[in-house]
Amino acid sequence: MTGAQTQPGPLAGLRVLELADEKGQFCGKLLGDLGADVVKIEPPGGEATRRVGPFLEDVPHQDRSLSFWHYNTSKRGVTLNLRVGDGRQLFRRLAETADVILETFPPNHLASLDLSYQALSAQNPRLIMCSLTPFGQTGPWRDYQSSDLLHMAAGGQMASCGYDEVDVAGAPPIAPGGGNAWHMGGHFGCIAIMAALVHRTVTGEGQYIDASIHDACALTTEAAIANYIYRGETLVRQTGRHHAPAPTPRTQFRSKDGSYVTALVAGRLTPKYVKDLAALFDSHRMPHDLHDPKYADPATIAASTSHIINHLVAGFIATLPAEEVYHAAQARGFTWGAVRAPEQLLEDAHLGDRGFWKQVEHPELGRSFTYPGEAAIYNGSPWRISRRAPLLGEHNVEIFCGELGLSRAELSVLAEGSAV
């Protein structure tokens, strides 16, 4: 490996204990990929997220969930039963070694086990503990059940996503897939933890963080809140483009290969833009009328918006594959992009140039698989996947015996008592 690959990540030396299901595993992955030693603590039967598909070769198994694989890279894993006294005692010992505890239990669950922040920080005042939960630790919805779809509804995402009536009559509001409510919560959770860590570098003090996924989602709708607060506006949902107080021109056009291109044209139609469009169309020998001198006049352009967008731009895109439109347009300075299915990203040459895709070894399978890599390149301390997700209980011996000093015989007794 080269020097850059062996440099420690920016969070090297930090120990994080993660007790998290789908609500917090992404936050833990971010910290782990950034170099922290993240120890995932699971109940003896395994975290529920091990049961989320799809699975390797469609064979369901606790160690074969691809969703679990993705969200639990760069972590080590132990099992621990917090419902029995010996399990709690081991957890307390681990907590004494921890910089950060990330947990997603229902409010008060850890306190009911005598494992509250107050109790744990008494032994370790530098401890930072983040509870990342659906609604936070307080409030009338505190104990409500949630899911990704529920958060996208109440958080405001669905109110903004959907279809033009001409595309899908009577369409429902749409929640984008992929579990993005958990991403929204995870991003803010990571910010809060990092802020507390920076504070600790100066003062040595730990603290407790009460983070709410609902609050995080409610913050993630760009200007929707401002549209209401400053103008009292309710927004309509539109196909493949921004919500708006009143309908706006299309930005998503079907390409020759049955895919789509997002082309941001409306609101940008200056005489120069029209000239650039003409050059783009000419370069592909598409007939058009944009060389007509009348388009030097902004008023004529404004009156021709529908013609330019719905006939010319739409017609141009319809004659070419989406990727070709994307690169041809970007090369000429247009803010346009191909609407890609996720798997098409594997062919993206730019991502290849950036070394984005990572081969992650699964030694127990004798294989390695391609994973998506980092959102940012750190030139002094790399963001890097350090290992595949842990198998269930994979590091019990390494951590309980190797680090906490239990003998293997003691560990066996604890396992008999269902503590691990």
Binding site: G136, A153, A171, I209, H214, E222, A226, Y230, R231, R241
Partner: protein, 441 residues
């Protein structure tokens, strides 16, 4: 009482504009950093164009509501960085700062003479966060993005919508919001690393690329199992699975039914709730709540397999019931019975009706000199020792120029006046705003 904040003593030079960068630095400000926003009225993007200026106010540099919400907790230094004097002042500021952050295209700061190498000469341990569309390396580094393009190209648009329809995509710039999250994270991580090691670094964050790992399970389904998402029944609308198509995970958690949005009384545009039953027990609770009608007690719906198979019928019946209740009433009844349900909420709903967001004090007013007292959005996390809070309204353009140039950097008032006259602090041919004239007295 002195309120300590996590980033007390941290200074950020903020060249960012539009949305993603300013959304990042807003949180650094809420966490206590002194965020100095460097801007120039002739090529400003973020204040204008404004579609959120209140009715009755003139649309100008100081009346955008969205700018206000996106730029609380900052000071504004109006500075022509393309002038020799402006560049010199920027460098003096960087020399006494911890973080430089910007979200221009990939070569802009280099062209100004403020690339990472130059920044290091000015401040060896600087944390430099660049937030460009495609990053500073790679063949497409010069490509242009806004949120919708980053979403399209990264695969995020495709995963939203109904099967056999165009993508519904995201009705806002999700990747501006999310790019902002990564910008803030990168700044904090760089700062943490600097405090621990003494070393700064360049963090090259890319908006489009930040969206790609958000499709992780779909990507692994392809790289591991060879199964792509261009297939029948994908994306499955609000459902976990589209009936009549092959049964397969669609990457939205546990595959279950019911899992959908349903209309509620009185049936207006935003009268919807979502209901999800993740297992048979939750379904039985919903059956009981609905009064155990005969359609719902049919044995074929008692199992997950049956509910997935007969989802159309299931959803039609549930909606007939949900239409009899208001969305808040329905959600409360469901949650009280142990059934997962929440209302679809518009922005107005969130600000005015959501009891949880009210309890969490997510929208509290702050006084702005032109816009008046307006609610702004607060942090979704509560730090017990160092709470994040909004302590400054968004700055008027150039509002803090004197405070920073004279007070922080030690220039004289005469030098300030000269800079105003020669186009360093305000374009010489542009009428000065009254508070800028006031500043020079």
């Amino acid at each position: 009482m002195s309120r300590r904040r996590a980033l007390d003593g941290v200074r950020v030079v903020d060249f960012s504009w539009v949305r993603a960068g300013p959304w990042a630095t807003r949180w650094l400000g809420a966490l206590g950093a002194e965020v100095i926003k460097i801007e120039w009225p002739e090529n400003e993007r973020g204040r204008l164009p404004s579609t959120t200026t209140p009715q009755g106010l003139e649309v100008n540099l100081n009346t955008s509501g969205n700018f206000n919400d996106t730029n609380v907790n900052k000071k504004s230094l109006c500075l022509n960085v393309r002038s020799a004097m402006g560049l010199k002042i920027a460098k003096r500021l960087i020399a006494i700062s911890d973080i430089v952050i910007e979200n221009f295209s990939s070569r802009v700061l280099q062209a100004w003479g403020l690339g990472y190498a130059e920044l290091c000469q000015i401040k060896p341990d600087i944390v430099y966060v660049s937030m460009s569309g495609y990053g500073h390396s790679g063949r497409n580094h010069g490509y242009m993005t806004f949120g919708p393009i980053a979403q399209a190209v990264s695969g995020l648009t495709f995963i939203s919508g109904l099967p056999d329809k165009p993508p519904a995509g995201w009705g806002w710039s999700y990747m501006d919001d999310t790019g902002g999250m990564y910008g803030a994270m990168c700044a904090l991580i760089g700062l943490y690393h600097r405090n621990m090691t003494g070393n700064g670094q360049h963090i090259d964050q890319a908006q489009m690329i930040s969206g790609v790992p958000l499709n992780g399970p779909a990507l692994l389904d392809y790289t591991v199992n060879g199964r792509g998402t261009r297939r029948a029944g994908y994306p499955p609308g609000n459902r976990a699975h589209w009936p009549g198509t092959p049964l397969v995970s669609n990457h939205r958690g546990l595959t279950s039914a019911p899992h959908n949005a349903y209309r509620t009384h009185p049936g207006d545009y935003n009268d919807w709730c979502v209901i999800v039953c993740q297992n048979d027990a939750e379904w039985q609770r919903l059956v009981d709540l609905m009064g155990a009608p005969s359609w719902a007690t049919a044995p074929r719906l008692a199992t997950l397999g049956g509910r997935l198979q007969f989802q159309e019928e299931l959803d039609k019946h549930i909606e007939a019931w949900s239409m009899t209740l208001g969305k808040y009433q329905l959600s409360e009844l469901c949650q009280a019975a142990g059934v997962r349900a929440l209302p679809l909420q518009s922005a107005e709903d969130r600000v005015e009706k959501d009891p949880q967001l009210r309890h969490r004090e997510m929208y509290t007013p702050i006084d702005h000199p032109v816009l008046g007292s307006r609610k702004v959005q607060n942090a979704p996390f509560k730090l017990s020792r160092t709470p994040a809070n909004n302590h400054l309204p968004s700055p008027l353009i150039g509002q803090h120029t004197r405070e920073l140039v004279e007070g922080l950097l030690g220039y004289t008032v005469e030098e300030l006046r000269t800079g105003f006259a020669d186009g360093t602090f305000w374009p010489s041919n542009r009428p000065r705003l009254p508070y800028l004239d006031e500043m020079l007295k």
